[in-house]
């Protein structure tokens, strides 16, 4: 099942006289259960593209359909709810609410969804264990390492039961050991729970772990390889 489909998506920034084609006509289909990396040099448009797919930014041209919804049809508040219920986000850093504990950060998104207390408690426990942080539930982000914070962010991204998880350079601020751990965990969730991951990266070790690698350059797809 195709859950993300983009058609000729463009993002043009107009800086005085110069037009920057940050994303310049991307056609892409992502299926349920993929574990896909978007790679490319700095400035190639990875962040811009992921932001548009996540409904955080609007394309200048083209169409983005997520699970049969053209997100351009959604009003501002509908779009926020759409993100809440369909997309899990992991950003490069400082993902978490600093005043909430790991557990509360994961629970937060379910509170926004008005889920029941029992459901929240069960799922928080399950997810923190899945990301290997069952014993750090009551720690604040400042008491966790960068890698642990990113895992809490993944747990939070999954808490809303999204259709897919978008992660823009989730390992950029992690050392190689933490990068390894985070990817193991993501790959496991992908394999066991069939969760779709779409992430961008610079990091060759991360690229090696992806099953599909899409390469952008100057806002265009220059290669799209699926392994195995």
């Amino acid at each position: 099942m195709i859950i993300i489909k983009t058609e000729n998506v463009k993002k043009i920034y107009q800086e005085t006289e110069v037009h920057v084609h940050a994303v310049n006509g991307v056609d892409l289909e992502i299926e349920q259960g993929e574990f896909t990396a978007i790679v490319g040099p700095s400035g190639s448009g990875k962040t811009t593209f992921l932001n548009m797919v996540g409904g955080l930014d609007t394309p200048t041209e083209g169409k983005i359909v997520i699970d049969n919804t053209d997100i351009a049809d959604l009003k501002s508040n509908e779009l926020i709810d759409f993100r809440l219920n369909n997309i899990g986000f992991v950003f490069q850093s400082y993902n978490l609410i600093p005043v909430l504990t790991a557990k509360e950060n994961v629970e937060f998104i379910m509170l926004l969804q008005n889920r029941s207390k029992e459901e929240r408690d069960d799922r928080v426990k399950e997810l923190l264990e899945a990301v290997g942080l069952g014993d750090r539930a009551d720690n604040k982000p400042s008491e966790l390492s960068g890698g642990q914070q990113q895992r809490v962010a993944v747990a939070r991204a999954l808490a809303s039961k999204p259709k897919f998880v978008l992660a823009d350079e989730p390992t950029a601020n992690l050392d190689s050991k933490s990068t390894e751990n985070l990817l193991d965990m993501m790959a496991e969730l992908n394999k066991n729970e069939n969760i779709t991951f779409l992430f961008s990266t610079h990091d060759q070790r991360v690229i090696n772990r992806a099953r599909r690698v899409i390469t952008l350059e100057d806002g265009k797809i220059i290669s799209d390889e699926t392994k195995g």
Partner: protein, 405 residues
């Protein structure tokens, strides 16, 4: 959840919260202190000035205030004599029979206000015996008079000398009498000090040929805030088509004007204070908003509606304001209470100035609850106005731009 988040957020940057809540606290404390002192001073001045002679209010025959005349006397009926039965000890009703007379001694003459008084009741207001500088106070059955100092000096009179009064009595009867001077009193008001003479009410009724009549009932109050209530109640007891009730604001309008002017000046100072503190608070809130743009961006990105985020930010400002306001009130209560019980007393030169005007050289603080509530509300409104800014920022936040920094 909103409350928990907001509460924890304000303790994230303790120093900033202390500065913000502290400046609110200071604003509230200063404003309350200042207003309390101002209102305390007003209460005291009103008490002083009405205590000179007029009382807080007077009852007369309808029209007497505009055109006082001995012919507009009223019968001192049972109802009027027993007015105090309708009230507790918060008010004393003091009967007077006052009119103008010509006083003479030896070759000197002077127009005076010759007032028949109930010597005992008069004590609750004018405290004539405390104003005595020579001789003794009169009793109800005496046939003697008390003169003000200026008048005695003008007529070159001493205690035990005999003074002659000539006047026109009730309905044109001629009034004349001679009385020994029993005492001399000094009034602080230079005007009153040279034109007042007192004798017992019974004697006055005889002198003016106005048996069982009075011109005025003066009200002396324990607490001037009760005036409106007392007047309203009186209007239900006495016939307002026959009698008028005139309060001190009408009798001595200058005082009210002065108080209002002074109060306005106070408000301007407070307004400036609020502006300064308001900008201070605005500054910290501006910093808070700017620092947290990234975080706000993340929250909206992951699916938090802007209005929910606004609620949290607003709650944060509100909590800081409430902390400051409660703190401000809590520290002002003991301070104002202290100065309420132990008024600021002037010493040295200043005392003379006060005494010249016949008032006690003290400034008591008012404990009127409306001061606390009023200032708390003002500061609260100010804070709410300031919180419009972060609310504006939050409600326009674009996650991508906010997270880019």
């Amino acid at each position: 959840m909103y409350l928990k988040l907001a509460w924890r957020n304000i303790w994230r940057n303790k120093r900033r919260t202390f500065i913000t809540a502290g400046s609110i606290l200071f604003a509230v404390f200063f404003a309350i202190g200042m207003r309390s002192m101002q209102f305390g001073t007003y209460d005291k001045s009103i008490e002083n000035i009405v205590g000179f002679y007029t009382g807080y209010a007077q009852i007369h025959k309808l029209g007497y205030h505009d055109d006082p005349s001995i012919n507009k006397c009223i019968e001192y009926t049972e109802t009027l004599q027993n007015l105090s039965n309708n009230f507790g000890d918060e008010v004393t009703f003091i009967p007077r029979l006052e009119s103008f007379a010509l006083a003479s001694y030896d070759i000197a003459n002077k127009g005076v206000m010759l007032v028949g008084i109930d010597p005992e009741k008069e004590q609750t207001l004018t405290k004539l015996n405390k104003k005595l500088i020579d001789g003794d106070y009169i009793t109800a059955s005496d046939k003697s008079v008390i003169l003000t100092e200026g008048l005695a000096e003008y007529l070159k009179l001493k205690v035990n000398d005999t003074i002659v009064f000539i006047s026109q009595g009730y309905h044109g009867v001629s009034a004349a009498g001679k009385y020994p001077v029993k005492g001399i009193v000094k009034f602080a008001s230079p005007d009153l000090n040279q034109r007042l003479a007192f004798f017992p009410l019974k004697e006055a009724q005889w002198f003016y040929g106005a048996d069982n009549m009075i011109s005025t009932i003066t009200l002396s109050l324990k607490e001037h805030k009760q005036l409106d209530y007392i007047i309203a109640k009186l209007e239900g007891i006495i016939n307002t088509e026959e009698y008028e009730i005139i309060d001190w604001k009408t009798m001595i309008p200058e005082i009210l004007q002065q108080i209002e002017l002074d109060s306005k000046a106070g408000l301007i100072i407070l307004f400036i204070l609020y502006m300064i503190i308001g900008f201070g608070i605005f500054g910290t809130i501006l910093m808070m908003t700017t620092e947290r743009r990234y975080e706000f961006g993340i929250l909206v990105a992951i699916g938090m509606k802007r209005y929910k985020l606004s609620i949290i930010v607003w709650l944060e400002v509100l909590m800081m304001a409430i902390l400051g306001i409660i703190g401000g009130i809590l520290i002002s209560i003991p301070v104002t209470y202290y100065f309420h019980i132990n008024p600021i007393e002037f010493t040295g030169e200043a005392v003379k100035a006060f005494e010249k005007f016949g008032v006690e050289p003290i400034i008591p603080f008012s404990m009127d609850p409306t001061i606390y509530i009023g200032q708390a509300i003002m500061v609260f409104i100010m804070t709410v106005l300031i919180s419009i800014y972060p609310l504006y920022v939050v409600s326009n936040i674009k996650p991508v731009a906010a997270m880019r920094g």
